[in-house]
Assembly symmetry: C2
């Protein structure tokens, strides 16, 4: 065979935005052609965005996706790019009319090959057996005398199926279109997997992945290529656009090294994932600015810093809402934070608002504490309604899991909680990491040091600290990780050597938190309702029936 020059377009699609995705695809095709590529490959479900959940079941959406594929093929041909082979993901339908997760190849103004994803993941964040029918035939593209095997994402994670079927086909390249969400440490797992499949098919593996935020998922990109012998050939950075090029070697010829970049540290990857998730939630939903309560504590400080990195400090509104229990240092730290970020800083004391309710309701104890917290929520919603900012919530994973928060307060209302997947220990780590980055680049540290160092407190009564109600965070987070993330039961937790009293305390906090949420879960029910039988719809979607 002659050499085959490929380009992998690592892009950030948006669910439902078929016109936007189409124009993004076209621009990358032009760029790839200009760089001399003969084949350009895109991530999973490029035309529709990913994951589309129950949108897959709407006939009108299926028709729109199919039209987009033909529009792209026709426009490529019409603009002189008919020779370029374009491989992209889309929503297909099989002979029974059932939706499929499809990869298509376009050339000469038409669809030259179609492949339906065979292994449909239906665990964790994936629900693909719900919405797709599996494919059952492998697919090999022929470009000159080069043979390219084509599969989609989960197909390489499961043994057997299409990859096994390609093992005896003497292919020159295995091309994998992916929508693989970010998880800490996943880069190494993907690499090892690709090496295994390269050995299985005796050819290089080119892995092109989506990047960007979609609802509560973040895709990291990190596209890469390994040679048939597993050698690292080329890779793209995480969390940004890339066009990764490589020459597929002639059979028997030694592979040529492409562009290689270092992986970022774990802290940096997590931080960039959180920034990406927030930015895309804001931008893809059509907002330009956010508002949040700033208390002087670490959670709202890190949240504001992340927001400033995501959309610019000038688009962040911080509202300080002191009560009689707020300390002076809290107010000072909140003001200092907003100065450091260039954010809009406002003060709305809540005493007059709480007093008005108390004149009628005369609450005491926890009900009184919750009232203070909820009045703050109403203030943020009012500012949002008046000025159009998205409300964001600084609640972290440790406090959400243990219910150490008031439902509908400033920490839990709003559209997006950037810290919801970070436990408290990680919140401190990332705050320190972000400040260290600033020092390294000679910039102002975004987070006041005293917000990082003072003991955490909700400040809803005099002298209150989190550790009045919770175990020490380092220990709490360790137990939560085992119980919540790794599904360990009481028996397993004790066998690991955790103190019995601590285990009892944490399990009872989490159970109690679940019970609290049962009293006020109307968010999910309302969301599920509006689309009737469609129980799982993407939240950030630009799909519009009337624009079909």
């Amino acid at each position: 065979m002659t050499d085959l020059r490929i380009a992998m377009a690592q892009i950030n699609t948006c669910v439902g935005d078929i016109p936007g995705n189409t124009s993004l695809i076209m621009s990358r095709c032009r760029a790839a052609a200009a760089r001399g590529a003969q084949l350009v490959a895109f991530p999973e479900m490029t035309t529709t965005g990913y994951p589309i959940e129950d949108l897959a079941l709407r006939a009108s959406f299926q028709r729109a996706a199919e039209r987009a594929v033909h529009t792209i093929a026709t426009e490529l041909e019409a603009t002189g790019l008919g020779d370029l082979t374009v491989v992209l993901g889309t929503l297909g339908t099989n002979d029974d009319g059932r939706p499929t997760n499809e990869a298509v190849a376009l050339q000469g103004g038409r669809v030259t090959a179609r492949y339906a994803k065979h292994h449909l993941p239906n665990y964790g964040v994936f629900d693909e057996r719900r919405i797709f029918a599996p494919g059952d035939s492998p697919c090999i593209l022929t470009l000159g005398d080069a043979r390219v095997g084509l599969v989609v994402c989960e197909d390489i994670w499961q043994d057997g199926g299409p990859v096994a079927a390609l093992a005896d086909e003497a292919i020159d390249l295995l091309l994998v279109l992916n929508g693989s969400p970010f998880e800490e440490g996943k880069g190494i797992i993907r690499t090892e997997l690709a090496r295994k499949r390269a050995a299985e098919v005796g050819a290089p593996v080119a892995y092109v992945n989506l990047w960007g935020g979609q609802d509560d998922l973040v895709f990291d990109g990190h596209s890469f290529i390994v040679a048939a012998d597993g050698a690292w050939m080329a890779n793209a950075p995480g969390f940004e656009d890339a066009l990764l090029e490589w020459e597929v070697p002639t059979a028997g010829a030694p592979p040529v090294q492409g562009q290689v970049v270092d992986f970022a540290s774990d802290d940096e990857q997590v931080y960039r994932a959180v920034v990406t998730g927030l930015r895309d939630y804001v931008v893809k939903n059509g907002f330009r600015s956010v508002v949040l309560g700033v208390s002087g504590g670490i959670d709202s400080a890190l949240t504001a810093a992340i927001a400033a990195d995501a959309i610019g400090g000038e688009n962040v509104v911080g509202v300080s809402m002191p009560s009689e229990f707020s300390s002076d240092h809290s107010r000072d730290d909140a003001a200092d934070l907003c100065r450091r970020l260039g954010a809009d800083y406002r003060v709305q004391p809540i005493a007059p608002l709480v007093d008005a309710f108390q004149a009628q309701l005369a609450l005491t104890g926890v009900a009184e504490e919750n009232l203070q917290a909820r009045v703050r929520g109403v203030v943020l919603m009012a500012v949002s309604n008046r000025e159009g900012h998205l409300v964001i919530a600084p609640g972290n994973k440790s406090e959400l899991a243990t219910g150490y928060a008031t439902i509908y307060d400033a920490g839990s209302i709003g559209g997006f909680a950037p810290l919801k997947d970070l436990d408290k220990t990680r919140v401190w780590d990332l705050a320190r990491w972000r400040n260290a980055q600033a020092r390294l680049h000679g910039e102002v540290e975004p987070i006041p040091v005293s917000s990082i160092e003072k003991p955490p407190s909700a400040e809803l009564r005099p002298g209150q600290t989190d550790q009045d109600s919770l175990p020490d965070y380092a220990l709490l987070d360790e137990v939560l990780d085992a119980y919540v993330e790794h599904r360990e039961g009481r028996e397993e937790l004790l066998a690991r050597g955790f103190d019995e009293a601590v285990v009892e305390k944490v399990l009872s906090l989490v159970d109690r938190a679940e019970w609290k949420r049962r009293q006020y879960p109307l968010g999910p029910k309302v969301t599920a309702l509006a689309f009737g039988r469609d129980r799982r719809l993407p939240v950030t979607s630009r799909w519009r029936e009337r624009a079909e």
Copy 2:
């Protein structure tokens, strides 16, 4: 064969409450034995409740379910019921350690047969391919010389599989354990399906179904038996406990008619479904009382009437929260409603509360309207926190789908929205039906006639009515049903003859409502978070790690 006397125990289990379900099973076994039954059958997943969602994946929960099965078998034997054959549903594990949706037969103190559900539904409200491995072997129980084929729920909804495998086995009865949720008109579909399967296996079909509310699902019971020729042999009423008995005929003998009861009207079934759903949400979550805002309008009036039917009027707190825009008739109707229901009636004027916010925020327009609405939400939450009532929300399906509501107002905050699956037209129908029932029984009509007859209004500005913003409800509900429930697109809606301007209006309202919810969806994210990788957990669950 000799006659086989069977009993089908139609019961209301609770997800996660293994001890409670176990004692319910034991009490029904004793009752069945006392009535001379040789076999007693329970609904799907009896020990664990249904549906258990991602709880299936917890090893500690799997162990607890398995222990419960052995406890039941041992106790039956120890209390002299060892001869009774008990067929119940439970959480099993297969040879690979993966969870299965299992039916087991107990006799003589031990498990005598195990059957794993073969067809795993993964559509609509079901996610069973996510959590279960399918079974692959049919199961026949032998009782004396009677042969009983055993399958679970979806197994009879799909062609092929275990029912087809039983066709040549000369069975005397096909026994089906079900967890089949209520849908209007589903009774006839189930009957026709059972008749088809009876013909296929040449034997009677006994269909035992769960009843009760579980999170946002309601199971209706309506257990029944059809003969081999499809004749209607016996059935249980909907929405209540039942022990349905029948004599399985000797081969060739004519079947004997059992107890037959009439089906209720559609309106009555829907009303009882909604009452059941609310009552079980309240009771299974450990509450005894509810609080809601009563505006004098139809939605809060019907919601309060449903709550009174569910848990008694004396356990309902209605809070009237008039503003300067509330009409006199609204206050009168709200007071009248609570008198009719025997509910606790309170008045909390919101003007002083709104004034306190306005002194600081000076809102106008929609932001001002929303402030009024949200202040009401804070009042209800405060009453709930102080007195321990569950907040319930009167929002109906038409207004939730079109976003004709303020997020976090008195219509949308809280733990349960009884009307969320009823469109506005149905709300009026059920209010009229409920009052007619009262007249029929010589009781006080629960709902003030003027709440039914006046034009609907949010009363957030002078002279406001719903039809200022929405199409006429009869038309709106028809379009919503096609768009939301039947997934029709713009093209299909127009082809059906709906006016283009109306279609544009409704689609744009629903899109806008979805966009609004993206700003404040933290309910689902928070719920998903606390259990980490478990994205779909039952809300109403009594499962406790520490009680294992």
